[in-house]
Amino acid sequence: RISGFFTLSGRAVRVKYSTPAFAGLADVSISEDIPVEGEITVPVGPNSPDEDYSTLDEPVKETVMRDLKAVGKKFVHVMYPKKSSALLRDWDLWGPLILCVLLALMLQGGAADSTEDRGPQFAEVFVIIWFGAVVITLNSKLLGGTISFFQSLCVLGYCILPLTVALLVCRLILIANSGTAGFVVRLLVVVAMFGWSTLASTAFLADSQPPNRKALVVYPIFLFYFVISWMILTFTP
């Protein structure tokens, strides 16, 4: 372990570091006359309040609530899509996970207890959502998009929210009326929510794409949400 003094903006700061390759370093001789010191200028930007905020001694409830609020805020962003970078700046995968599990559970329906496994299985829904999102993301990266992998996954996952709402409505309608009128209503709801999902996700993702290739990026997104909404429409418990 080697240590030395460095003066940092007028104050003496002790720097301590240890190396596993100590034996090799032992040959380096530093004479005692020359003090190991120098000026290190650290670009100290304006401290953002987020960084100063210590989360070590806050109650657990606050921590959980803060995360839940972040997720909730993103849900609102999706339901009311306007050009905003909040969904992109701090991505998380909690929302997509919740939506995905909800969708898969509701689509599972009565298939779990019947011996005949009709209807989409839990794993199938899960795989479609995550595999589809990964494929879309890779495609947008390959087409020259400037968005990080997880940001894109986050946006695509959060934009399933309208479709989850559509599924909820569909199940309610199915309880009330399962005839032709019910089907027409379900069709309308699913088509509207499908359009919503696609528009919301393109609103968030379009900025990061080269302008002349937007159609190429939108097509797989369209296909992805189309498959999911088709699964929702054809679902009968």
Partner: protein
């Protein structure tokens, strides 16, 4: 400043030397060789007041590190004498942990490399929307030009999207036909079928093309066959929704035939020699047309079977009938016996 530190350091070194085995010889030399150790200790003094503990701690750590190295080295040569039973156990667990770590690291780095190497694929995705549209249209138009090699765009965006579209259509077909797949999901089957066909047949035809000495690269082959799937997509999308046999055959010959002809024309223009052309194009045309036929009927026949059963008048289940017969006969018997008794 250096007095107590040096003494402590020397003590530490001595105790280290006492417990050291022969393998550490080099290390000991390193520690004591020249004045280097002294300088280290001087630096040590700056760290904290209790340099003695530091030195001891440092030695402990270094001893452990050395032990790991020494054991790894010794494991190959002198297994038996160096290791006791306890040592053997420790080494075994360490080896297992090491292997797990290595495997995990390899997989992670593979995934990372794949993601980092995404730039390699980027040239194949360098297209404009109208280019894709034109290529889709061109995939249905066979060109009669066999003297001069026709152009094939080495692009993968269109084919990839067509394959995914085909997956979605196939999924739709499977759902509407109530296909039940044991030991797997519909999704996996659809993806496997489409990608298997695309990559498998491309490789096979590429191999044949290599044998027949035709000028085509693997990427071009993938692109050609991928755009050839456009006809399949249209045909299947229409015929999964409108269940008419005659309509399917018209589409099969018309649209499927056009896209196949286009591929055949391209391949013919790039191959020399009649036999080679016949082999290559025969194989491609057969596979392509049969694949469409398979996709249609594999997930279509079931619908008809179900429709048949729905259209038939309600017949009570077989078991029920079988159980009722003895009941009736026994009732008849009862009546007859009563009649006889009366």
């Amino acid at each position: 400043m250096s007095g107590p530190g040096a003494a402590a350091g020397a003590g530490g070194t001595r105790s280290g030397a006492a417990t050291a085995t022969a393998e550490w010889g080099a290390f000991e030399d390193n520690m004591q060789g020249g004045g280097s150790a002294v300088i280290d200790m001087e630096n040590m003094d700056d760290t904290s007041g209790s340099s003695f503990e530091d030195m001891g701690e440092m030695h402990q750590r270094m001893k452990e590190e050395e032990e790991v190295d020494a054991e790894a080295a010794a494991a190959d040569e002198e297994d038996g004498e160096f290791l006791g039973m306890k040592g053997f156990k420790g080494q075994l667990s360490r080896q297992v942990a090491d292997q797990m770590w290595q495997a995990g690291k390899r997989q992670a780095s593979k995934a990372f490399n794949l993601y980092a190497n995404i730039d390699i694929l980027r040239p194949y995705f360098d297209v404009e929307p109208n280019q894709v549209r034109n290529r889709l249209l061109e995939s249905m138009i066979p060109v009669r030009m066999i003297n001069f090699p026709q152009k094939i765009a080495g692009e993968l965006y269109g084919p990839l999207m067509l394959v995914f579209t085909l997956v979605a259509i196939l999924l739709h077909g499977m759902k509407t036909s109530d296909t039940i797949i044991r030991e797997g999901t519909l999704m996996g089957t659809a993806i496997g079928t489409c990608f298997g066909y695309w990559i498998g047949v491309s490789s096979f035809i590429y191999f044949l093309a290599y044998l027949c000495n035709s000028q085509i690269t693997m990427v071009q082959m993938l692109s050609l066959l991928g755009y050839g799937l456009f006809g399949h997509c249209i045909t299947l999308f229409v015929t999964y929704n409108i269940h008419l046999h005659s309509l399917f055959y018209i589409f099969w010959v018309g649209i499927g035939g056009l896209s196949t002809l286009r591929m055949v024309a391209v391949l013919v223009s790039r191959t020399v020699g009649h036999t080679q052309r016949l082999i290559l194009c025969g194989a491609l045309a057969t596979l392509h047309m049969l694949f469409l036929l398979y996709l249609h009927f594999a997930y279509h026949k079931v619908v008809e079977g179900i429709l048949d059963t729905l259209e038939r008048p309600n017949i009570p289940p077989f078991q029920r009938v079988a159980r009722d017969i003895p009941a009736i006969s026994s009732a008849v018997m009862n009546i007859t016996t009563k009649a006889v008794a009366a």
